[in-house]
């Protein structure tokens, strides 16, 4: 427990010292919000889509993207292998790393929701319980998928290609930037199978429509299935060192 807390504090310190990480976690969602907020200024319906959409992107970037990048780097550099040789239990290490990711998610959601309310006049979240539940499920889901993806990435140089190949298409079709009702049917079908759309649905319900968890049972189910797949791949495939050759 003490060790997990130490690792958490270390992760926080390192996070703020790494400009790339800080940019991706805080500037990108805020830039997106500013950009689309300006485009959709005054159009209530669009703003109601964009704010929960960017909240969903924030969850994904702070967990999926950050972990896929960081673990690839730490594995390639041998830091994970070095930690493996110390008495620190693996659980304490992952607890520290996970707590740091959760901290980033919470900070970003606070910024996005506050900015959405203050600048664009989107209402305060209508159902805080649903917001907390979908955030928690989203964190576990995308964190485990990020860890799982890091196993497939051969080295740091190719990490952006792998991450963006997954992230960008999912982002485009998930109804983050537009109401997905306007998208072609086949794109909607694909988005329906992927987790981000369902996270955005759940967050949208909680933030904009004041809908509870029970109104988005399907979203929770799909996220739960992806979480199960992610955890299975993340744990069974976990490697403390880079592949040879």
């Amino acid at each position: 427990m003490t060790l997990a807390w130490r690792q958490f504090r270390l992760e926080r310190r390192m996070f703020w010292r790494n400009p790339t990480a800080a940019f991706f976690n805080f500037m990108l969602p805020l830039l997106l919000l500013a950009l689309f907020g300006a485009v959709f200024a005054g159009r209530r319906e669009d703003l109601d889509v964009i704010v929960p959409g960017i909240a969903g992107v924030s969850v994904m970037s702070a967990t999926f993207i950050a972990l896929a990048y960081n673990l690839t780097f730490l594995r390639e550099q041998g830091v994970l292998k070095r930690l493996r040789g110390t008495p620190m239990p693996a659980g304490a290490y992952f607890a520290g790393v996970a707590a740091s990711a959760v901290t980033n998610v919470v900070l970003q959601l606070a910024i996005v929701i506050t900015a959405g309310h203050v600048v664009f006049g989107v209402a305060w979240p209508g159902d805080w319980v649903a917001l907390a539940v979908f955030t928690a499920v989203g964190v576990v889901c995308f964190a485990s998928l990020g860890v799982a993806l890091s196993h497939a990435i051969p080295n740091s140089e190719s990490a952006p290609a792998y991450v963006n190949a997954v992230f960008l298409p999912m982002l485009m079709i998930a109804g983050v930037f537009y109401d997905e009702e306007n998208a072609p049917a086949f794109l909607r079908d694909i988005a329906e199978v992927l987790p981000l759309k369902h996270l955005v649905d759940g967050l949208s319900g909680a933030i904009v429509h004041g809908e509870g968890v029970s109104d988005h049972g399907l979203a929770l189910l799909v996220l739960g299935l992806w979480t199960a797949v992610g955890l299975l791949l993340a744990i069974r495939g976990f490697s403390w060192e880079a592949r040879r050759g």
Partner: protein, 291 residues
């Protein structure tokens, strides 16, 4: 034996796919000694050490480290062992001192951070971020991280690769100091002078097998011969002998009688290098002869 042995390895084997990296290694390391695994790249040294460190599974054989099977990864074992891995990074955004403070916190009874910094010769670099360190300083940080937990057994996998001569000597002093403190050190190296200078006993490893084992002095005495060379007129004479006294007497007597001089006369004592080259050349298998 086990009461005084820090490490016991019996018939250890490990293969990567079809490649047998370690083929039946047997050796033991006594408490308080510096033991050197000496061999060329690809001999299986690192694989062996990483199995002992609990970082790799073995295929066969028995291994005991401080009485533990490292594969069980007991927390107590890891807190009593310090590891310098080959080419292994640290968190780039932390300073040397911050890194050591974090690592110290992982051990039940760590050495003081400042003391460790001084021991590893990192005083000037203590407040620099790891990413800005030179290669030699990185390696000293590796050493410092292995020592900060105040371990009783230290694994050093090629600890001075990339060091300049001065840094190398300094690292040797650290190893000698550790020995003076009663610590056990398992060292791998492909530098023969390093093994000769530091190790109480060495095992020469090639292709996953031990070719010879013993104190460097005994290996030298047992396997290699004095080399006497001189020039007689146009002819360069090189002779090997177990007893240079007789050979020199005969050569000088003959030269004096003929009124000649033995130009460029040298008598070289065998070194670990001769033993090593002799053994590794003998052990070379036909398919490897090209190298």
């Amino acid at each position: 034996m086990t009461a005084t042995a820090a490490i016991v390895v019996n018939d250890l084997s490990k293969a990567y796919g079809a490649h047998a990296a370690v083929r039946g290694l047997t050796f033991s390391v006594r408490r308080g000694e510096v033991f050197g695994l000496l061999g060329p790249n690809g001999a299986g040294k690192t694989t062996t050490v990483e199995i002992l460190e609990g970082l790799r599974h073995r295929d066969g054989g028995e291994v005991s480290v401080l009485g533990f099977d490292p594969e069980q990864r007991a927390s107590e074992l890891r807190s009593r062992v310090g590891i310098v891995l080959q080419s292994c990074g640290t968190y780039p955004h932390l300073t040397v001192r911050e890194t050591l403070e974090h690592w110290a916190g992982l051990y039940p009874a760590p050495r003081g951070v400042e003391e460790t910094i001084a021991l590893a010769g990192l005083a000037e670099a203590a407040d620099r971020r790891a990413r800005t360190l030179s290669g030699g300083q990185q390696r000293r940080l590796d050493l410092a991280l292995a020592l900060v937990g105040d371990p009783e057994l230290i694994f050093l996998d090629e600890p001075t690769t990339g060091f300049d001569p001065a840094a190398r000597r300094a690292a040797w002093e650290v190893v000698r100091a550790l020995r003076g403190l009663g610590k056990t050190v398992l060292l791998t190296t492909h530098y023969l002078d390093e093994a000769q200078a530091l190790a109480d006993r060495v095992a020469i490893v090639k292709d996953g097998r031990i070719l010879a084992e013993g104190p460097p002095g005994e290996l030298i005495a047992g396997a290699a011969r004095y080399r006497v060379s001189y020039r007689l007129g146009e002819e360069l004479v090189e002779r090997e002998t177990e007893d240079p006294t007789t050979l020199l007497h005969e050569a000088t007597t003959a030269a004096l009688a003929a009124g000649q001089r033995l130009e460029e006369l040298s008598v070289s004592r065998p070194s670990l290098e001769d033993v090593y080259l002799e053994l590794t050349a003998e052990a070379r298998e036909p398919e490897h002869a090209v190298a």
